[in-house]
């Protein structure tokens, strides 16, 4: 048994038993972050805070939500929104939070792409991040079903039908996922389980892995500069703070991080209180009706780009294109053959590739919401083909890149 001496403070008592001073040092006070960064580097913390808001608001929603096709709609739209004291607050936070998680994920992703933060030892950061994106997508979809409104029902119908695999006719798989011939009580209850327990557990585990994958390659910086973190840390610790290229996570980086989080939360709560409607589709304020499809079905804005890649093609080709869109971003570290780990504006053709990709995804997102008629069909077709071609040509574009 270890020898324990009498502790002179609570902190010391805990340190003897849990080594909290060591933990604080490793996790925060001597966890080094590069100095040469900008506000886009705060998006990780913004995401963590948003996930926290979703978790807390979700816990309160759980108190009155009923996962039953007869009761779900009223439990959300009547009980929680009108009867429960401040029930509307949790619902608004949850709805705005769901939208903002994706706003920030997309900013976080495109920041990573722009600065090449998926390269040179940072591949696992990118891959765990993409796994988080996919799990958050499943979390958003399963949650969207729960109010059991018209959009919930028909989104559930259309998305689960994708699993029939078009020409593969795998209706057994669709019926297995639903636990019924069509979306019903069995599907609502199992998606409830996924939304409130299994998927959040997976998300929390993946967040842990995402943070852990940062540890060895460290955070990237604005110039993609490769330096010895330990050497720079020694400089900082020796008091040469100006000369050192790094800062400790706590308190230096975190104070700036929290400033960005503060600005973000001002916008977030402004929307929660005054502009929540954009996150609650009016079509979903009609209860689910299996015998009436709403005139126009579209997913939430964050899925529109991949939905639009599915739409302009015939079923089988559409599904293949859609499947490609889901995995394409995972492959980015391996498709980018360039020796440079630099921001896009220093990488020639890649800079054009980046902006075309961003622009194309915005176009696809806008088109996804428009009805499937001429000329939107044709523009959608071109935009979807451009998306696929961008990934196909990436290895050739980046291979020709000169080392900077």
């Amino acid at each position: 048994m270890a020898k324990f001496e009498k502790a002179n403070s609570v902190g010391e008592w805990l340190d003897q038993r849990l080594a909290i001073n060591k933990v604080k040092k490793v996790m925060a006070y001597e966890y080094w972050i590069p100095k040469d960064i900008n506000f886009l580097w705060a998006m990780g913390m913004v995401l963590a805070v948003t996930f926290g808001l979703l978790l807390v608001s979700g816990i309160f929603l759980l108190m009155y939500y009923k996962p039953d096709t007869e009761m779900a709609f009223d439990s959300v739209n009547y009980t929680i929104m009108a009867e429960v004291g401040y029930g509307w607050l949790w619902r608004h936070i949850h709805a705005i939070g769901a939208s903002f998680v994706f706003v920030i994920i997309y900013i976080h992703m495109f920041t990573g792409i722009y600065y090449g933060s998926y390269k040179r030892g940072r591949e696992m950061i990118w891959i765990t991040g993409m796994l988080l994106f996919v799990t958050f997508s499943a979390e958003a979809f399963s949650g969207y079903l729960l109010p059991w409104g018209q959009m919930s029902y028909w989104a559930g119908m259309v998305i689960t039908n994708l699993f029939a695999g078009g020409g593969l006719e795998a209706h057994w798989l669709v019926e297995w996922i639903r636990g019924d011939y069509s979306p019903g009580d069995a599907m609502l209850t199992r998606f409830f389980m996924l939304h409130v327990l299994l998927l959040p557990l997976v998300i929390i585990a993946l967040i842990g892995l995402h943070f852990a994958s940062l540890r060895i390659p460290h955070v990237n910086n604005q110039e993609g500069e490769d330096f010895d973190f330990e050497e720079e840390a020694e400089k900082y610790k020796a008091g040469k703070k100006k000369e050192s290229k790094v800062i400790p996570f706590q308190p230096v980086f975190l104070s700036k991080d929290l400033f960005v989080v503060g600005v973000y939360l001002l916008i977030f709560f402004y929307l929660v209180f005054y502009h929540y409607h954009f996150a609650i589709d009016p079509v979903n304020l009609d209860p689910a009706d299996p015998l009436k499809t709403p005139p126009h079905i579209y997913p939430e804005w964050y899925f529109l780009w991949s939905y639009e890649i599915l739409r302009p093609f015939s079923t089988n080709i559409g599904l293949i294109a859609f499947g490609f869109a889901q995995i394409a971003f995972f492959l980015l570290p391996f498709l980018d053959k360039s020796p440079n780990c630099k921001p896009a504006h220093k990488r020639g053709l890649f800079k054009i590739w980046f902006w075309v990709m961003l622009f194309d995804m915005i176009i696809l997102t806008i088109l996804g919401k428009l009805p499937p008629v001429t000329p939107f069909n044709e523009i959608g077709f071109v935009a979807a083909v451009v998306f696929i071609l961008l990934f196909v040509t990436l290895p050739f574009i980046t291979k020709r890149e000169k080392a900077v």
């Binding site: 028909w154 078009g166 011939y181 199992r190 499809t293 005139p295 079905i297 079923t315």
Partner: protein, 167 residues
């Protein structure tokens, strides 16, 4: 020699845990299966004698909408029609074969139009435009006088099935 015993213990543990794991996966798969009551429910009877020409009647079978359209003389007959006496009916599951939205019937143009992705079907349920890969699916049926029983495979349905024109 102790290592051998340890290896044996390791393999025994791994083997038992593996079998247990597979058994647990099977149990999990079965838990997700549709319930027997869900599978057993689901015969719907529709009386065809009340149907009017060129007017779509929508019924429900296994939670899915069922289209019944009595054909008028100017609509082309098709082997997919359900024939009762002198009347021809188009009967199908009213879900677009693309992604399962419900197409709307336009009695003026005499066609079904799906609002989701613009697919069109004629009065025999044949896909004529857009992404739908196949005609509207004909559910298993049997004819009982002027009544149609959905969920039962009658001789008329089996004939269609054999001809490969139910979907």
């Amino acid at each position: 020699m102790n290592e051998e015993r340890r290896d044996f213990l390791g393999m025994a543990l791994g083997g038992v845990a593996g079998i247990g794991g597979i058994a647990a996966l099977y149990a999990a798969k079965r838990t997700w299966d549709p319930l027997p009551s869900v599978l057993a429910a689901g015969f719907t009877t529709i009386d065809l004698s009340a149907a009017k020409e060129n007017e779509l009647h929508v019924d429900e079978w296994r939670g899915k909408p069922i289209f019944v359209l009595k054909k008028s003389a100017d609509m082309a007959p098709n082997d997919r029609d359900v024939v009762v006496g002198n009347d021809r009916f188009h009967v199908s599951i009213g879900l677009c074969t693309h992604l399962g939205c419900i197409p709307a019937y336009n009695p003026g143009a005499k066609e079904f139009v799906c609002a989701c992705h613009g697919g069109k079907f004629d009065t025999s349920g044949i896909n004529t435009f857009g992404p739908p890969p196949s005609p509207l699916e004909i559910p298993p049926f049997s004819i009982d006088g002027t009544k149609l029983v959905l969920g039962e495979e009658g001789p008329e349905y089996l004939k269609m099935l054999e001809a490969g024109i139910t979907a």
